[in-house]
Structures are given as C-alpha cells and as structure tokens.
C-alpha cells in the first residue's frame, strides 16, 4: 500500500532528516515507528501525506507515485489518509460534533450523510454522549478521541498518528491505543510514530526503528528497543 524506495530528505537548512529509507507497508497493517527525537519519524510521516517532498528516492501509494502527482491531486491523496496529531488540533469554538463534521463539510459531503456518519464515528470512539460539548470541556484523552473520530469520518484507508499519546498519561494512552486497535481490526491501516515504550512493547506489532534518518530495525511482533543492543 505504501512503498518507500531509497528515500532521502535534506531540509534547506542542511539537516539530513532521512537517508536512503526503503520500506513497505501492506494494507491492514499496524505499524509503530519508533526512535529518538530527531530520528526522522515526523519527516517520514510528512512525506506520506505529501507535506514535504523527498530530495531523492520514490514514494508509491496504492501503486501511484505521489511525487509525480499533480499539486491539485494532493487533496484527494489526503482524503485517503486520516491524520492524528500530538496536540489534537481541534477547533476550540466548535462542538465535538461540529469538529468532526467539519472534516466532511470541507470535502463537500452531503448534509444527510454528515448527519448519519458523525454520530456513527463518535459512537465508535465512545464519545456519543459528548457530542454537544466543546473541546475545553473534555479531558485530553477525550479530545484525542475526537481527533481520531475526525480522522476516521471520511473513511480513509490509512490512519497516521504522530505522537498521539505524547500529551497523555499512561492510562489514557492505553485507551487511545485500544481505539487504534479497534480501527485496525476493521481493516484500516494504522501507522503510529511514538515514544511510548511500554505500549509498543506490550502490543507486539510491527516496529520500524529509525536512528539518524536510517532504518536500524524493522521487525514484526517487535519491541521498542532491541534487547541485544
């Protein structure tokens, strides 16, 4: 579903974020991307949804090169990807319902479909009773679940989360991970960049470890740190 071939990214300020990264992620996989800060996790994610362009290499998604994609087609690429961020990125002046509906409105979904779909996803993340609340009235975990609902609402084939539990305590982090597991169980590919060692170790998913812009480890049923090194 997603393929990187020898991808390098050098930022204009000279930082080599990625160096010769090749990887393949299949449909329906659950993947953790781990590594110290500055290892290139965020850059890898930005390349997938085409916020940044690689300096070298080729990236395919669903058999299409996203580098050869026209600029006006990028919005449609992004509609296949649901993004979740560390800082939730909710709109403070809109209710939970409106925050989720917003993602459907901006791609021109019919109102009848919005009315049907939004409660559906909110129920899936367990927020059906909080629909009319504003983000500030919610806990961090609930806010992040709202963000997940928003990422899901347009039925993307991939969910990408950049440090989704970075602002949350460990119990809440587990809630969020269970949420991602549920999404993955329904067939959606899930890619999570994270520092949450305990969770990665417990969940035994595929782990791709980055260090200094290179893949140092790629294991199925992996853990956060290799016990040997």
């Amino acid at each position: 579903m997603i393929s990187f071939f020898n991808v390098s990214k050098v930022y204009p300020n000279g930082v080599k974020a990625l160096q010769g990264v090749s990887l393949q992620i299949e449909k329906g996989e659950f993947v953790f991307i781990v590594g110290p800060s500055g290892a290139g996790k965020s850059t890898l994610i930005k390349l997938i949804y085409s916020e940044e362009q690689p300096t070298k290499g080729q990236i395919y998604m669903g058999g299409r090169s996203i580098l050869r994609m026209k600029k006006r087609d990028i919005p449609y690429l992004r509609r296949q990807i649901g993004m979740v961020f560390q800082d939730f990125r909710l709109l403070p002046d809109r209710t939970i319902y409106e925050n989720v509906a917003f993602a459907m409105q901006v791609i021109g979904a019919p109102r009848s479909e919005i009315k049907k779909r939004v409660p559906e996803v909110l129920k899936m993340v367990g927020l059906e009773k909080r629909m009319d609340n504003y983000p500030y009235q919610l806990s961090g975990g609930e806010q992040q679940r709202t963000a997940i609902a928003r990422a899901l609402v347009n039925k993307p084939s991939i969910i990408i989360a950049d440090e989704p539990t970075g602002n949350l305590d460990i119990n809440t982090s587990w809630e969020i991970m269970e949420c991602f597991q549920k999404i993955n169980d329904e067939g959606t590919t899930v890619i999570i960049a994270t520092h949450a060692k305990e969770i990665v170790d417990a969940m035994r998913k595929r782990v791709i470890a980055l260090e200094n812009g290179k893949i140092v480890r790629d294991e199925h049923r992996g853990v956060y740190e290799n016990a040997v090194t």
């Binding site: 949804y49 916020e51 006006r72 919005p75 449609y76 690429l77 992004r78 509609r79 990807i81 993004m83 990125r89 709109l91 917003f102 993602a103 409105q105 901006v106 791609i107 021109g108 979904a109 019919p110 109102r111 928003r150 347009n154």
Partner: protein, 303 residues
Amino acid sequence: MNTGVYMKMLLLRQAYYIFQEVGRSLKRNSLLNFAAIGTTAISLLVLGVGMLLVINTNEIAKTIESDIEIMVYIKHDLSEEDALAIEPIIDNISGVEKTTFIPRDEALKSLVKQFGDEVEESVGEENPLPDAIKVKISDPREVNTIAAEIEDLPGVESVRYGGQDFVKKLFSLTNWVRIIGLLLIALLGLCGIFLIATTTRLTIFARRREINIMKYVGATDWFVRWPFLLEGIILGFFGALLAVVVLYFSYGALVARIQETITFLPLVSSTKVLLRIFEGLLVMGIVMGAVGSTISVRRYLHV
C-alpha cells in the same frame, strides 16, 4: 447519479458552506472589518476625487478649446466677391474645421443690435467695418501656425485670435493633472490592496488552525481560498460603496455651490458620467478586495 448532477450538487453544498464561513468570519472580526472598509473607502474616496478633478479640468479645457477661433479681417478696398473668394482658400488649410463669412453689413447690423442706434448715427453713411471670416480650427494647439499662414494670404488685412497663451498653459496643466492623477490612482490602489491584504491576513491568522485542518483532511486550495476571497470582495465592495456615497453627496453640494458663484464654469454633473465613475470605484473596490485577500491567503495554503 450522473456526474454532471453530482458536480452541481457538490458545488451547491460547498457554496452553502462557504457563505456560512464568510458570515461567521465577518461577524467575528467586526472591528477589523470596520477598519478594512474604512481604509478602502478613504483610498477610493481620494481616487474618486482625483478622477473628478481630471475629468473636470478636461471638460474646462475642452470648452475653452472649442471657443478658440480666428477672426480674419479682409482688406477694406476688396469687393465682396474678392473677399468671398478668400474663404475657400482658408478652408483648404489643413487644421481648419469650419469657416463662416461675415459681410460688413451684417457685422454692422449686429453691432447696432448690440449697442443701439447711437452707433448707426456715429458711423454715418459709410460702413467702416471690414468683411470678416470666422475660422474654427480642429486643434487649438495649432492656432499660432494657422493664424500666421492666413495672415500671409493676399487680401488679408489682419488676423486676431485670443487666449492662445492661456490655452497652452491650460493644456500643460491638464496634462500634469492627468499624469499626477494616474500616479495617485496607482498609488492609492496599491495602498488599498495592501490594507485589505493586511486585514484579511489578520482574519486568516485568526483562522490558521482551521485552514491547517482543512488542508490535512484534504480540502482543495480553492475551497480554502473562496471564503477569504469572498470576504475580501465584500470588504472592498462596502468600502467602495461608502466612498461612492460620500463622494456623491459632497460633490453634488460642491457643484451646486460653485455654480451659484461661477456660473460659466462647465463642471461635470451629468449622472451618466458620475455613474461611470461610481461604477469604476465599485469595480476597483472589488478588485482590490480580491487581490488583497488572494495575496494574504497564499502563504497559508502551503501545507
């Protein structure tokens, strides 16, 4: 559903959303919008004043120009036929638009008519006036050369024409007014665009989170741009409207006052011309709003 109908529905839904967004933003940033409308109005007002100034000086110059004519006096000893023969020669000179022959009897008659019988008495039997030809020329700037050419013709006693220095000065004045007016218009136009750009930049800044999210969930650039473009256009339009209203009433009052005291000044007051100016200002306001908001939204689209 066929794609045409589907596209239409998609557009309608998006239009609904866009108008909702515009309304939301206009309500939320009312003070800022006030400032944008005010500054646009001021720049367009000065622009309108400049336009009226140019148009009026042009009008005055044109009126004075059309009044310029050369009076050609024929030698007194020439018979009327000989004098009449000079007319077609003058008519053939390039730059001459129209000639009118005024026989000496007629000239006397109009003098008598103007000043009464005393003139007739003092003149006596013999008519002292010469035959004359009134010459209208097409370009008043050539009045000097044409007059000189006519003066050299045989049978011509003298030529008289007035106001050529005045016309020259007026011409250089209108040229300057035109140039300065254009510069002023360009400068103020840029100022207006800059001000609207700044204002929309502030509203965009206030909404950068929304734009950011929109980009992440896959909104097209045009979809993000439309509300701001519309907002800019609305601000520009209302700014222009304000300028037009102020201009309309103050100019009307000014013209009325001036024409009370200086009756002969040919000021432009035809509604047709004024409407054209007002139309122009409204279009300018809309263009300024569109350009200004486009400039400021561009930066935030690169996500």
